[in-house]
Amino acid sequence: MTALRKQRDRFTETSDSDEIILMRMDTGEFLSLSGTAAAIWKLIDGERDRDSLIEALEAEFAESAAGIAKDVDRLLGQLIGSGLLASE
């Protein structure tokens, strides 16, 4: 699998209690990440791939691997689709 890397020149971010808020630099749109989505975002460090993200989340959340994988795939699809994330 390939490592997931945040495209830092394409967004800026802040956090508000348990929520992470991203702003796309090209459109100015906001993207709010909370719960599992915020945890996934925090774990993306340029080295982890999809499977290692799921593995790390399994330890943190009392949820089945299948459920976590669904959340991870949905978010990664959204982030890669919007250009905020790349798999290398």
Partner: protein, 287 residues
């Protein structure tokens, strides 16, 4: 009463003189009812050849040429010109009317005609003095808190708002504006105070206050009123700067949505509900 550096600066920068002025800050002619802002200069053209030119350090100069509507002059001065001067000098004007309670400002915002002035006028009957009408100027120079400069505009109400609130009317605002000046029942505050809460007015079935957080707060704080456009133009913010600015506002300003029925028979319920919210919030801030 000690006045802040920002108040003194605004007083100095908004002084007015009359004479001839530039008719454009660029090579393009300036159409009626539009403005140009270029670094430390602002030029507004009202109706006809009615020009308002501001340059930092030199105050405002007004040219009353052919077709100038002199009765509208104070509205232009107190509106766009004042907001531009504030913005050029690092202050942040927002589209809001406000009351003060226990040394803190509670500001109400909504699109034009959304009831900002009306709620402020009505809260006067609950002992809450007006802080400003229509434009609230924020001083962001202290990184730890956001200060509000006392209002520079008189309270303006429509005839229906006067009837709803029972506030005594004064003279008509101008020939073209269907509003009258009015005197707030509990007076006005003339000193800078910290901003406690920004309340967005919306229509709802029952009066309710909803606390807003996170990205929703940032979304709400993205104002599209002319005051915000002037500020962004004057500051020449990049997207990152805008985001940083919004995040700071979101962290330091309590944001609430106030939903209430617009049915006139329920107006008093909404006002009483708001008065309880404001006094309760001020009390919590104290303890």
């Amino acid at each position: 009463m000690t006045r802040t550096a920002a108040e003194l600066m605004l007083e100095r920068e908004t002084r007015v003189a009359y004479g001839t002025v530039l008719h454009s800050l660029s090579e393009e002619p300036l159409p009626e009812s539009s403005w140009q802002l270029c670094e430390d200069q602002f030029l507004l053209r009202g109706e006809g050849d009615h020009y308002f030119h501001y340059e930092r350090g030199h105050g405002v100069r007004i040219e009353r040429g052919a077709g100038a509507a002199v009765t509208e002059e104070s509205l232009w001065l107190n509106g766009s010109v004042y907001a531009a001067i504030a913005s050029i000098n690092g202050l942040f004007p927002i589209h809001a009317s406000a009351v003060a309670c226990d040394g803190k400002v509670f500001a109400f915002t909504a699109p034009a005609g959304g009831g900002k002035s009306t709620i402020v006028a009505a809260l006067g009957a609950h002992g809450l003095p007006m802080f400003c009408d229509d434009t609230l100027v924020l001083d962001l120079s202290d990184p730890d808190r956001i200060m509000c400069l006392p209002g520079h505009k008189r309270l303006k109400l429509t005839p229906s708002a006067l009837a709803l609130t029972g506030v005594e009317p004064c003279e008509k605002v101008s020939a073209t504006v269907d509003k009258l000046y009015a005197v707030p029942r509990s007076g006005e505050i003339g000193e800078a105070l910290p901003l406690r809460e920004l309340i967005f007015l919306e229509e709802g079935k029952e009066p309710e206050m909803l606390a807003v957080s996170g990205a929703d707060r940032l979304m709400l704080l993205q104002d599209d009123h002319y005051t915000a456009r002037l500020f962004l133009t004057a500051r020449q913010f990049s997207r990152v700067d805008q985001f940083t600015h919004l995040v700071r506002l979101a962290r330091q300003i309590g944001v609430t949505i106030f939903r209430r029925p617009l049915d006139r028979s329920r107006f008093i319920d909404g006002v009483e509900f708001t008065a309880r919210h404001v006094t309760g919030s001020a009390e919590r801030a104290r303890t």
